[in-house]
């Protein structure tokens, strides 16, 4: 099955590993990601703070390009890109004047209709069809060693305006369901939709470190041996700053922060290099050795 694919800027730069993994893992599930041509930045959360019109116009152009592919669905693994694109689609549908203003300058006009999906929505379809369970190539017992805290962050379920949300807003279960199909029991914990601070890790470190400390402390207290995430911003923050936060907030433990595609890829028998798990900033391979996955 072909599906339109919007990687977004971070999957082409600091989180390029997520792009590589997504393509490989989806291919293993018989889903082929067709990157939409000449896509542009979605504006992320920043655009809404700087220019409301751009916050709609930037993702709108990508919607026009995606519709022109003729594919019925577009997957967006990055939570910020997913959120901005879904919100823009929803707004343009409700505001024909805005749609017309933006369409006037676009070579690929937005008509509406393409389904914008998060990575979890697509994976959950593959869970329901049995494709995920069938893709497992390793001994299922080794996977049982994962004790993950599934961390969703903000933008997977909370939106600046009302859009249809495919999961529970306060206690989402999408990642837990995907992992369950691999025989992995995720932990119950309290901070799965709390904010990591996003860009505050750079601009307001006191605030972001306090937020991340609460998240890491709860995961550790529940006995987690790793985080599993879908958002590249959450991944980078939790991955890059544990050594800064630990001493400040009295946390000795360090938890690897896996993209959900890494767990899926490992279950499919892919290796560390193939999935680029060696590009993490917090050690992510020791646990895999302990579990005898590598």
């Amino acid at each position: 099955m072909d599906i339109a694919y919007y990687p977004g800027c971070s999957l082409k730069a600091s989180s390029a590993l997520y792009d590589v993994q997504s393509r490989r893992v989806f291919e293993g599930l018989g889903i082929y990601l067709k990157e939409i041509p000449d896509w542009n930045c979605c504006g992320a959360t920043s655009a809404g703070k700087v220019d409301d019109f751009l916050a709609m116009a930037m993702p709108a152009r990508n919607l026009g390009i995606a519709e022109a592919t003729g594919l019925a669905e577009m997957v967006i693994p990055c939570s910020a890109c997913y959120s901005r694109t879904l919100v823009a689609q929803n707004r343009l549908e409700k505001d024909p004047v805005l749609k017309e203003t933006i369409n006037a300058e676009l070579s690929r006009k937005v008509a509406g209709g393409i389904k914008v999906s998060s990575i979890l929505e697509v994976l959950l379809t593959a869970v329901a069809s049995g494709d995920v369970a069938e893709s497992i190539r390793v001994d299922k017992k080794t996977l049982k060693g994962f004790k993950p805290a599934c961390y969703y962050g903000c933008l997977q379920t909370r939106f600046p305006e009302a859009v249809p949300v495919p999961d529970d807003v306060e206690n989402p279960q999408g990642m837990e369901k995907v992992l369950k199909a691999l025989g992995i029991q995720a932990l119950e914990w309290s901070y799965k939709t709390d904010c990591c601070g996003a860009s505050a890790a750079v601009t307001d470190a006191d605030a972001s470190d306090a937020l991340m400390a609460r998240i890491i402390k709860d995961a550790v207290a529940r006995g987690a041996n790793c985080f599993v995430v879908t958002c590249p911003m959450c991944q980078l923050n939790l991955d890059a700053y544990q050594d800064r936060i630990g001493p400040k907030h009295g946390i000795r433990q360090r938890l690897p922060v896996y993209f959900i595609t890494e767990i899926l890829g490992l279950a499919m028998g892919m290796g560390v290099e193939e999935l680029q798990i060696d590009r993490h900033l917090t050690d992510a391979t020791t646990l895999l050795k302990e579990l005898e996955l590598i």
Binding site: C9, K12, A13, S14, S15, A16, L17, D38, W39, N40, C41, G43, A44, T45, S46, A47, G48, K49, V50, D51, D52, F53, L54, A57, M58, R61, I65, T101, I102, E105, L106, S107, C154, L155, R158, F159, P160, E161, A162, V169, E170, D194, C195, G197, A198, S199, A200, V202, T203, D204, A205, D206, A207, A210, L211, L236, A240, D278, R279, L281
Partner: protein, 203 residues
């Protein structure tokens, strides 16, 4: 502090609440001060007196300066928790986002200049190239900060900031998470034309 209730002038207050309501798309008058937003705000410990409900109150009382210059407007992380839990569907994060823009238009020095610099550098990079280039926009962001520090002769904080970013940069470089090439989208011209048209319309 905000305008005392006995000094409240409904006519004078109206212009502010109308402007914020229209631009943010939020019905501020629906707020009945239940404070679910305040209870859920993850940066509540950082923003002192100002919680989302109190920000709405400031706006309702017409206190423009207090509304534009407070910690919540600048330190809000746009996690959208307040709005998701609001029984009246008021998304306060859209209000803080709106007030940031209004502060800029009023030529006020942002209370947290680094935060303002970050978001404008990010969007400028996205519009300039069609895609955000992390190295470029972070470079511009750091330069803006360093220039500001130099004006204040605050060399210590410049050195600290550069060291923090250099450490992060080095560890990212080692893990091949730094992208050196320039990402470009030809469609940036369409975005730039749209931006130009919109800004002409505003004037």
């Amino acid at each position: 502090m905000t305008v005392p209730a006995h000094a409240y002038d409904p006519e004078a207050a109206r212009s502010l609440i109308d402007e914020v309501s229209e631009r943010s798309g939020q019905n501020l008058l629906a707020c009945y001060q239940c404070r679910r937003c305040a209870a859920g705000c993850p940066v509540g410990e950082e923003t002192g007196y100002v919680t989302p409900d109190r920000l709405i109150r400031m706006i309702a009382l017409g206190d423009r300066q207090a509304a534009l210059e407070n910690e919540l407007v600048w330190r809000c992380v746009s996690c959208y928790t307040c709005g998701t839990r609001c029984p009246n569907d008021i998304q306060t994060a859209r209000i803080t986002e709106t007030l940031k823009k209004m502060a800029k238009e009023a030529h006020l020095e942002p209370l947290r200049p680094k935060i303002a610099d970050f978001h404008s550098a990010f969007v400028e990079s996205g519009v300039r190239w069609g895609r955000v280039n992390e190295m470029e926009f972070m470079g511009i962001y750091e330069m803006k900060g360093a220039l500001r520090g130099m004006k204040k002769k605050d060399f210590k904080s410049i050195a600290e900031e550069l060291k923090t970013q250099a450490d992060l940069g080095l560890s990212m470089f080692k893990r091949k998470r730094m992208h050196m090439g320039l990402q470009v989208s030809a469609g940036r011209k369409e975005i730039q034309r749209l931006q130009k048209k919109a800004s002409q319309k505003k004037r």
